[in-house]
Symmetry: C2
Subunit: 459 residues, 2 copies
Amino acid sequence: MTEQNIQDLRKIVGSEDCYDDKAHLSAYCYDATKERKYPECVVFPHNEQEVSQILKYCNTHKIPIVPRGAGSGFTGGALAVNGGVVLALEKHMNKILEIDMENMVARVQPGVVNMQLQKAVEAVGLFYPPDPASEHYSTLGGNVSENAGGMRAAKYGITKDFVMALRAVLPNGDIIRAGKKTIKDVAGYNIAGILIASEGTLAVITEITLKLLSKPKYKQSAMGVFPSIQSAMNAVYKTMASGITPVAMEFLDNLSIRAVEEKFHKGLPIQAGAILITEVDGNLPEEIDFQMSKIKEKFYENGASDFIQANNEQEAANLWFARKNASPSITIYGSKKLNEDITVPRSKLPELLERIQEVSKKYSVVIPCFGHTGDGNVHTNVMVDGSKPEEVEKGHKAIEEIFKITVELGGTLSGEHGIGLSKAPFMELAFTQEEMELFRTIKKAFDPNNILNPGKMAL
Amino acid sequence: MTEQNIQDLRKIVGSEDCYDDKAHLSAYCYDATKERKYPECVVFPHNEQEVSQILKYCNTHKIPIVPRGAGSGFTGGALAVNGGVVLALEKHMNKILEIDMENMVARVQPGVVNMQLQKAVEAVGLFYPPDPASEHYSTLGGNVSENAGGMRAAKYGITKDFVMALRAVLPNGDIIRAGKKTIKDVAGYNIAGILIASEGTLAVITEITLKLLSKPKYKQSAMGVFPSIQSAMNAVYKTMASGITPVAMEFLDNLSIRAVEEKFHKGLPIQAGAILITEVDGNLPEEIDFQMSKIKEKFYENGASDFIQANNEQEAANLWFARKNASPSITIYGSKKLNEDITVPRSKLPELLERIQEVSKKYSVVIPCFGHTGDGNVHTNVMVDGSKPEEVEKGHKAIEEIFKITVELGGTLSGEHGIGLSKAPFMELAFTQEEMELFRTIKKAFDPNNILNPGKMAL
């Protein structure tokens, strides 16, 4: 980028919202992958019109531009790999525009933090279910762009199930609307459908209309203790197939349980092969009891040695403590975590976990696993000593083998984190040449000059 | 098409499955719009490989090709407006390939009739909710291509909410997969998302993977009688916003009630301004009672004069009779029905219905309305004497005005029927030039030779 480019962009957003100094470039060069890719300029647009002008300018001058929310992604989606502009939406475009109680819909700007919306709608008796682990800092624009999941996906689905409409700006500056505040809308192509999970490579989302539910009045949590991963995985899919749908069905393997216990001394069952932590909700106490008794039955039928129900919020928080602290605890096994969010059909969970254990042995790497088993989504963490290149290489080989197994079992490379940079090398494992060609054709149709978030998704 | 073209296609599918005789061309020239557009050839492929070969051939020879299920669409989606080939999928590609109990997923070919799947999964305790009025004859391929809704959409959503994965053939013959048998999958662009509701203009769907639910154990129906449409519409959205979600919330206006009564003498409340017919379901009797009492409360609060609960299946069938027979009954008002499936945000229903009444007066046309008000979807029926061209023209003017009102109220031209031919002239009411341009860019990306279902959706 030239000095003139920076000055031109400054004219659009004002001198207070366009920077090319070292401090700003450093502040916007990272994400949760810990990779660093420096942009040449950071711009903070105030509104859709400015986004449109900026994109038009970048398109004309063929300057790469990377939309960015909180920068909390796990796959490098917000990294400016080719330099250019980072379009930071969290500073000004962060308003909840409307909570429409009558139609149970919220309209938000992309920079709104997920939890900010959750709190605002719960205050009026409504409910926005998608709850990625990053809910306290990730933005809804990022959630839509990566199609974020979360613990409650087992019952309520993922971000895409809540997006009713989007406003967006195309690379040429055109402003478009996609979808409506209506449950049904089949006029025209489903543009919102293709923008969700497109990782900022097709358009910049400037407004999101989200479906809300009414907040269930009651909930209860429980924990099942299992002798082996296999018994726990059987319990998961047998429960899900029994006719009830828990809000969450999360699991920790023995390595994860031990890690949390070592760090926090909570009296967890460190001999257990695995634990499952579950939650049910409903509008009546009878619904809670019905669901809990069914889960208990299925857990015991599949070999659980213990089943602990929480009787109040404090007890529930205690049960959930292990799950919520698994990720930071497993660092005891290695300084570098190669963390993947593979997903398989639920019935394949026992085989997946068994084969991950084989990979662990084959490469002598520790692979603690935990995650959202209610929807088949497992966080596998290959832990290695980051200071030893040969260890890291071994870790990467293990990951590649795990990806192959996942695809073999009918699963996907990514349940919620996206492809970005870090999974791009594995796209050919999952997609045929024809499918990759179709992705590239779509990318070209939206963005012929390849200015929007270039270098991602192996496009 | 030349004789050589027909012979070449015959080589692909066999002589028993490729026809250009008058009987076949007549049998495949219509749909539910009652328009007739004759193809030059009808082909019945046996499998995906043949579909691929046929598309490749048509693409090379630039022959239009129109995929077709049951031909039950309301907007001309299956009509061969430019001649060419009708690709009829209902004859051979009509198998349920798998009902996977463990993952609660069904895999079907596009020619499977909706009700065939509903029955098959209910026989094993599972549930496929989308229930378009055409459920007894429309195919799942057509349901996906038009993103069909139905009565149960208020609680369960529409076809797109159940599509987990598709296999499809692109116009160039490439076979692609989109999506997985997993609840979460964010690898690559959401191709399934853009194929749903694309009305056969982007690809030919050859296999559909659908999410299933477990079948709720209990259900109950009820009817509310209201003095005016406005009081009924208020009751609809106040009920939906009260925290419970009925399976269905259907309405009939006075004209529709009178029409059914005149035809069938069922003792319906012909003085009522409107009736609402609703159903709730659940796994516990307590859930049913809770939801019913809430609905009753909201109905009476909003002016209902009567509330009748069904105590058994026979009573429920009686309540639903009026709704299920509304469409065939209103023909008493005119030989030609200009039937549109507009949809608005629920809170706009009272205003929409009020303004439709004004249109009715302005053009002196009778416009009975009924439909799926639980999701804001109203079937408006402008009834005219089909033998009088000036009447038909008046009807079309009324429809155009209703479309304008709908868009003004934040609604959509089509909640479930699609655009096809019949709504194509109204696309510019709903979409900007930039949005239409984007649709055309996408069409061109998938189908550069414009062979797939050309002439539809105003592309």
